[in-house]
């Protein structure tokens, strides 16, 4: 399933000569790994940031400490800044971000384990989605990367 969508993204990005950059947290590099799995991915994959710690989010993506404190690292606001930040950092056409709680710990009543924000940043605006995944850490990470790939694919010219 991820292989098929990766192939579709690959073909569409090559055809449209567009580029992508990724900033991910709870998926820990899994999204970048899928987007670079096919030969020739260097044509469109410019950069992946695994900003796992808050320090990395602040330092690499210039996300203000106060934003992380106010909304939490797992929030629409931070997901948006991750996506637009990585896009601008390397001047890519698309920025794709994932931030969430893969568990098994780290959940709260307001944001239980499985809460994941996925954001796509384009030059003309951002799209952000909230998901509530169930299952193990591994399943939540896998579900998150799949949804992120689907979000990107849906916004690429056929």
């Amino acid at each position: 399933m991820p292989a098929e969508i990766t192939r579709k993204i690959h073909a569409r990005l090559i055809k449209s000569s567009q580029t992508v950059a990724v900033a991910e947290s709870c998926t820990g590099g899994g999204l970048s790994s899928l987007l670079t799995s096919l030969p020739g991915s260097s044509n469109y994959f410019l950069l992946g940031l695994v900003t796992y710690s808050n320090k990395a989010k602040t330092k690499l993506l210039n996300i203000p400490d106060r934003t992380i404190k106010k909304y939490g690292a797992v929030s629409r606001q931070v997901a948006m800044l991750m996506a637009s930040g990585v896009r601008k950092k390397i001047n890519a056409d698309f920025g794709l971000s994932i931030t969430g709680i893969a568990g098994p710990s780290g959940g709260t009543p307001a944001k239980p384990v499985g809460t994941v924000y996925i954001c796509l940043s384009k030059k003309d605006g951002n799209i952000c989605r909230k998901f509530n995944f169930r299952g193990s850490r591994r399943e939540i990470r896998k579900g998150s990367t799949q949804k992120a790939l689907q979000l990107l694919c849906a916004h690429l010219p056929r």
Copy 2:
């Protein structure tokens, strides 16, 4: 196999309160993904950079263009600068880097497909290894992440 070594690294980093940061090229995020696969990895995994393009290597890790031109992106020199660069960027105890040719294209007689440099940067020095992997793109990527994990593990206090 990667799961077992990941568990070993996890235990040793937690026990010694040490941290790690990763800069990877041909493995595209796979190394970061393994190092964040276990719950609690946020205690030691600070940052992962998937500097797939030369532009990313220059921009994120300040690797001079002339160094990449002189030695090639797949070289001991660049691997070293990736490992020390990412370590210093986030002030981690260890910096771990992979740069190589996963193929199927991109090989040359001097550096055939499967040529991979893996480097570990510590505060007191760097260790760099050259590998010549055989097999598919997937196998080369997998072999590279395993060897990188082994290099890190061997330098962690038991």
